[in-house]
Assembly symmetry: C2
């Protein structure tokens, strides 16, 4: 593979990621929620059982302060709430509210809608293969900003 091909792959990857992110965000907004794309990663971490600010920060790859600000915002807008941590009086458990869950479902619907357009172009098997291959080359650990 030529060097310039590799750069083109990077560009295509970023373009696809940006496009999909934009579409998901638009879809979420059109369903009556306001959300910044970065929230998706926060919600994904909060979804199962909640998380502390520090855990969230590690997951997002930012400082505790930045994570705390993000939590401030989603709490202020009613998507999550801070509760006392059951086992550690220093910590506070951030959990999604019902509205937060609704927003998460909206994001899933929007994502499915966006991916459906890809399915129309590539076919379902190809899209599934795409997802599987991406998963193999970039395990989904802590988030690193795309640039």
């Amino acid at each position: 593979m030529q060097n310039s091909e590799a750069l083109a792959l990077a560009a295509a990857l970023l373009a696809a990621a940006g496009d999909l992110t934009q579409r998901i965000n638009d879809g979420v907004v059109s369903r009556g929620f306001e959300a910044r794309p970065a929230w998706g990663f926060a919600f994904a971490r909060l979804a199962p059982d909640g998380a502390t600010v520090t855990e969230l920060a590690a997951h997002l790859g930012v400082t505790k302060q930045a994570a705390s600000q993000l939590v401030d915002e989603i709490v202020r807008k009613g998507y999550a709430e801070r509760r006392p941590h059951p086992a550690d009086a220093r910590a506070r458990l951030v959990v999604l509210t019902e509205r937060g869950w609704a927003c998460t479902r909206a994001a899933e619907e929007a994502a499915a809608e966006a991916v459906r357009e890809w399915t129309d172009v590539l076919g379902e098997g190809e899209v599934r293969a795409l997802r599987e291959r991406l998963g193999r080359i970039a395990p989904y650990g802590p988030i690193r900003p795309a640039w």
Copy 2:
């Protein structure tokens, strides 16, 4: 495809894009250049024959002022220079210097190196197919930030 699958695809795409971007940037830095990931898109537009600030802004999807700041920086660091535009006295043509070209080549090498690791996992044909499919679903036009 289930809704949650679609979100997982988006996450995998962003993770892969972020990972690749990070690796390319690291590779460029280790070759003795300092570059911010966003520069890649600027350099790509400047590479053939130069571009005006306005063209660059449109390509990057930001304001003229932001593009101008970016140009200030890469000029200050010796990667490009502003020349009078041959056909329009209002405009100034931003062109890469020899150092700019060297940095571009370093980015291509770094990208090739990063993609090579993927090739080891997926095989060359798969990676090529990945690039081709990504190209089909997200034509590489103006850049939209990933989030």
